[in-house]
């Protein structure tokens, strides 16, 4: 549990309980306060005794997104040096649009991974729903918006079907979603029929990934978000009355700078892609639900260990079921993006490495495969890393074998660096349980 939100409040909660004690045992109070302080010093990671520079552990403390962000910068610099084209507005804009299929899928995957479940069917759901959209719009002839709603509803239904098996009949999600992966692939092939591809000539469907919001609007939205993020952090710092270190502003400031930078870069080409706005909206919604709502918080409890959660009266089955419905729906969002981007639905849509890239993206971003830990931003940063590598290698005219090998190496490297940093900062990857790809914490 070390999302930005929680870290943000750690300072505020850092009130020694000793201070809350009643006055009647005033005599012992001084001594106990001292004890409290000693404990506080000893138990705070990155305290003075630690060998890790405090700014570094502060960054790790701040959120799982940091190592991924740093990797992204390194990757960008590398490809810029190698190709001199990577950091241009048009390339970054293309990169962002290409990622919009992967991000929703990765987001759905983060949701189920947090529950210590997995969904291996999302690639097939992408394929099947893009085929459904294609048939609806190109053959049945329903309006584009109805076609999209039907595709999303089908994705939700596929998720619900699997979720029911997983949550209520208690079949392991690994098995159920392998079934879903094959079954929905069959559905996709059935819908596409013998010719195997369906062209989608529909301007609105194409506009999903092919249109851009005007520069002015981009600035307004991006600027407002940046200001909001910084203002919120400042307010919190003040509310905490100096108990929080100034370092807690690092991440919000970086995030704001990043937002402004992204808008500037995208505006230098055609503007902020519509699909990117959609994806960011989904990410914010996911973040809000997981950080600020009761069912969202309960996801972390269940992912850590479902039995105490059940004993506390949490509706474990309902939350598991819902997570798979949401994952299926997000798979369908990926399907819409893919259909829009390719202007067609084919037998290969949603196939190949998409699913494993999504799981890889979630994990690179710091989501534990064993549940209870991670953030939605993992979906974004991880997906950007995967796409950036692929895009950069394309610019360098690298062959497919090389691409795959480099991507594999980067997944391994990113997770290793993340794990090592965390271990040195005194935090195991998964608290109190199996640690992912780490021996002892």
């Amino acid at each position: 549990m070390r999302s930005e939100e929680n870290i943000g409040q750690r300072g505020a909660g850092d009130v020694r309980v000793a201070a809350a004690r009643e006055v009647r045992d005033g005599g012992q109070r001084g001594a106990q306060l001292e004890e409290g302080q000693r404990q506080a010093g000893a138990s705070r990671p990155g305290g003075r005794q630690s060998r890790v520079p405090s700014w570094l552990s502060a960054i790790v403390e701040q959120g799982t997104a940091m190592p991924a962000l740093i990797s992204l910068v390194v990757i960008a610099v590398f490809f810029e040096i190698e190709s001199h084209y990577f950091l241009t507005g048009s390339n970054l804009s293309n990169l962002v649009v290409q990622t919009t299929t992967l991000v929703p899928v990765a987001l759905g995957e983060v949701g189920v991974l947090l529950l210590a479940e997995i969904d291996l069917s999302l690639g097939s759901i992408v394929g099947a729903t893009s085929a459904i959209l294609g048939v609806m719009v190109s053959e049945v002839g329903v309006p584009w918006w109805l076609g999209m709603i039907i595709a999303l509803a089908c994705g939700a239904a596929m998720g619900a079907f699997q979720g029911a098996w997983i949550a209520f009949i208690r079949i392991p999600s690994f098995v159920v979603t392998i079934g879903g992966w094959l079954g929905f692939l069959g559905l996709q092939l059935f819908i596409l029929g013998p010719q195997g591809t369906l062209s989608i000539f529909n301007p609105q469907v194409a506009a999903l990934t092919g249109s851009y919001i005007p520069g002015g609007a981009g600035w307004v939205v991006g600027g407002a978000l940046a200001v909001a993020v910084v203002a919120r952090a400042l307010l919190r710092l003040r509310a905490a009355g100096g108990r929080r270190r100034l370092g807690s502003l690092t991440l919000p400031a970086l995030a704001a700078a990043l937002m402004v930078g992204v808008v500037a870069v995208l505006n230098s080409y055609k503007g902020v892609p519509t699909a990117f706005v959609v994806v960011m909206g989904l990410l914010f919604a996911g973040w809000w639900i997981l950080q600020h709502t009761r069912p969202g918080r309960n996801v972390f409890a269940i992912g850590g260990n479902p039995e105490p959660a059940r004993r506390a009266g949490i509706g474990v089955r309902r939350i598991r079921f819902t997570a798979f419905v949401i994952a299926g729906t997000l798979g369908a969002v990926g399907g819409l993006m893919a259909a829009s981007y390719n202007s067609s639905a084919g037998t290969l849509t949603g196939g190949g490495t998409l699913l494993l890239e999504a799981i890889g993206a979630a994990v690179i971003g710091g989501t534990s495969l064993f549940g209870g830990q991670g953030t939605v931003w993992a979906a974004l940063s991880g997906a950007l890393i995967m796409s950036a590598i692929s895009n950069g290698l394309d610019l360098m005219n690298a062959s497919s074998p090389v691409k795959y090998m480099v991507q594999g190496a980067v997944v391994l490297l990113a997770v290793t660096v993340d794990t090592l940093l965390r271990r040195r900062a005194g935090r195991s990857r998964r608290l109190g349980g199996i640690t992912m790809s780490v021996g002892a914490p």
């Binding site: 004993r311 009266g313 830990q373």
Partner: protein, 244 residues
């Protein structure tokens, strides 16, 4: 307040409870004692909706109830501190204290959790038990010591309004001082009109706070003793199955 009549439960071939009947009134502490494996925790789990009995009639405030899940138990005003599986280790102290009933600002399907409003009650709950060594209530529980974790679990019993509180070995692993606070807490709950069921391995503890002592032996009720009319020896004899 709470009556459990003719409760039976077996796990496969193992009979954990066999026709046990106990009751506890308002403002009363019932101690539940017995050897390891006697069925104490099983009874607690049945009343708190964690496991289903093979056979049981349960009454709360005289009404027959079907406690099919922990949520039902909670809605009946039953609060439980279990012997194991009581904390979400990856969550912090605040979230554990309020697990499953996080304070929220909005109602509706998506309650918006209000962390700030949970800070103060958490501090109060911990200070009532004199838990002074938890430096940061935003620490994940996994990083606390065994006794600190136990204290966090027990502190859950002091939050909220409950009619019936079940404590399954609440002082295990606690310091002498903290155990004494837990006994204070039991007395406070009793004075507040709660019905308390206290499972304990410590005869001294039992004789300190309990009004009545129910003894389980191999899943059967070996006797219920009023504290005023019994001696530790008599209870220990019953625990051992009648032989001294």
């Amino acid at each position: 307040m709470l009556r459990a009549v003719d409760v039976s439960k077996s796990y496969g071939g193992v009979v954990a409870l066999d026709g046990v009947t106990v009751s506890v009134c308002r403002g009363e502490v019932l101690a539940l004692v017995g050897d390891n494996g006697a069925g104490k925790s099983t009874l607690v789990k049945i009343v708190s909706g964690v496991v289903r009995a093979d056979k049981a009639e349960l009454y709360v405030l005289g009404n027959s109830v079907d406690i099919g899940s922990p949520a039902v138990a909670r809605s009946l005003g039953i609060r439980t501190v279990h012997q194991e599986q009581k904390l979400a280790e990856n969550l912090d102290v605040i979230e554990n204290l309020f697990l499953g009933e996080e304070l929220a600002r909005w109602t509706g399907p998506l309650h918006m959790v209000d962390f700030n409003s949970m800070v103060r009650p958490t501090e109060v709950a911990l200070s009532k038990l004199r838990i002074t060594t938890i430096a940061d209530i935003r620490t994940p529980v996994a990083r606390l010591s065994g006794g600190q974790r136990q204290a966090v679990a027990v502190a859950r019993a002091t939050l909220g309004q409950y009619r019936i509180v079940l404590l399954d070995e609440p002082t295990t692993g606690l310091s002498v001082e903290a155990s004494a606070r837990v006994m204070d807490m039991v007395m406070q709950l009793r004075e507040g009109g709660c019905a308390v069921v206290l499972v304990s391995q410590s005869i001294e503890e039992v004789f300190e706070v309990a009004d009545r002592v129910a003894v389980l032996h191999h899943g059967r009720l070996a006797g219920v003793f009023a504290r005023a009319e019994t001696t530790p020896e008599e209870v220990v004899t019953a625990v051992m199955g009648g032989q001294l």
